[in-house]
Symmetry: C2
Subunit: 349 residues, 2 copies
Amino acid sequence: MAAAAAAAEVSNRSVILKRHVTGFPTEDDMELVTATVRLAVPPGSAAVMVKNLYLSCDPYMRSRMTNHKEPSYVPDYVPGEIIPTFGVSKVVESGHPDYKAGDLVWGMTACEEYTLITTPESLFKINHPELPLSYYLGVLGMPGLTAYAGFFDVSKPKKGDYVFISAALGAVGQLVGQLAKITGCYVVGSAGSDEKVNLLKTKFGFDDAFNYKKEQDLNAALKRCFPEGIDIYFDNVGGQILDAALLNMRLHGRVAMCGLISQYNLELHEGVCNLACVVTKRVRIEGFIVTEYFGTYRKFEEEMVGHLKEENITYVEDVAEGIENMPAALVGLFYGRNIGKQLVAVARD
Amino acid sequence: MAAAAAAAEVSNRSVILKRHVTGFPTEDDMELVTATVRLAVPPGSAAVMVKNLYLSCDPYMRSRMTNHKEPSYVPDYVPGEIIPTFGVSKVVESGHPDYKAGDLVWGMTACEEYTLITTPESLFKINHPELPLSYYLGVLGMPGLTAYAGFFDVSKPKKGDYVFISAALGAVGQLVGQLAKITGCYVVGSAGSDEKVNLLKTKFGFDDAFNYKKEQDLNAALKRCFPEGIDIYFDNVGGQILDAALLNMRLHGRVAMCGLISQYNLELHEGVCNLACVVTKRVRIEGFIVTEYFGTYRKFEEEMVGHLKEENITYVEDVAEGIENMPAALVGLFYGRNIGKQLVAVARD
């Protein structure tokens, strides 16, 4: 109580959503506001006050900007309120017995400099601060676990499988590709620029990659890259690339549906016409959400830390500096402006 | 050899495909021709000569009428040749040690009165001739095994699941619905006429059913029938009903894709726009083909015979009389003219 009473009041910049979004989001849909916050938890509360070091920009956030008529799988953001997002944070003050000032954590926080987290049970402590802390927004965080669970649990890979990954340089795609190579698969990725395609082939060890924006015929591109067909399509985009992939699936192929970034900004999603292939090729299409795998996080974390320390896995992130650049960084995701995992550095410690 | 030399030569009427089909098939795409056949197997051959008693009309046959640019999952029919189909047949003469004259079999034969089957290993002997023989084209044959495997193996039902079945009075649909009721599921079917809807509710024990042709909004119809959502959608039709079903799937719902009869006659298949639900509801869509389950046939046969004898399962078939009515019966499938399993009675013994 004494500590709370003496707590400093500091400036706290945040990003709020001004309005629900239809179509592509713009920076103007968000606003940077400045308030003050007392660096304290309410007396008797089990909340923790954290300083946000890194904040995450993830494609699923677009869905939360929409005003859904029926409840979506994650709650819609509320206009006028600060945008929630995953972050890497340092505990400033704790009312919870599991946390103390100075602890490093990652989990759901919000787009601001300081956040009072009222459900600290949802946070994960950072076990490996010797690695870059920002990794806990990507390779060691939600996207990393997404890649790991979606590839191993949903896609059920075998050595020698032909694996196709869309949005392959994204936070999830780059990791799926490398996990597939470690598993002994043949791996091809699609991305939206020649620079990204080059990185996939030179830095991430993909066997092949193509720039989907330069292909006249996605079916032909996939036939060129997979003359034997595709065993696993790890789908981050949906729409036309999914439709073309279906035409190229092998018998008993698997499509792990992770996201549909090509569709999030469309009011009506594009139709997928080649579902007959699901019957004729006996394909399994399965969606998944990483939150169902959070219980397996520690096992994943230790395995991925091992891969990073042994340099089996490379990881590229795209860091915007300063919370004031959060709106531009988030919008940029939907234009493919980021090279690798997009995040915002709010404070270094 | 002596028997072969003495074999009778008899008239053999058959149905040939005149041309590959685009759009809806018509009777004029087929032709009834009359030839003669000697009721004998070639000397030294392991073939069997059969008399076809019942011939099957199945939706997948439409796909074989198309001239596919790339090989399909089943070979295209060849214009000018007799149309292959499943049949119930009696062995007239056998060159194969496993068969003798008088044996009753079911399996792949052709649209004619007598057929020389050169791969008799693919035939199944009929173990229960005390039941109507035509059942071996339906409830005890390929469609029955399709329903059984697609429901139990692909859909993974649990007691209390909400189950939706399209083309619910078809050969497969009527059985899936009854297997689901036996499993303790809540079962709703769609069909294309009020008469069929009435049969589903009164004769087959469906909890509810609707006439999709009378619904302005398929999504609303499914919401009315499934206020809690759908756990299992057994999809026989694809297209718009699949799209509406996706909107109504429950968390971890399963879509067993059995066929797409709404799409077979379209040159470009309709687009399915609601695949985002696969991610948000963590849905599994899985295609299957009954031939992969033929190894489990005997187990299925005994179980289904038990259900029939105990009158747990009702079965309705639509029998056209005479091979000359095969073209009309087959075309009728695609207009939903049949009530229950469509077949043609060629001979009674």
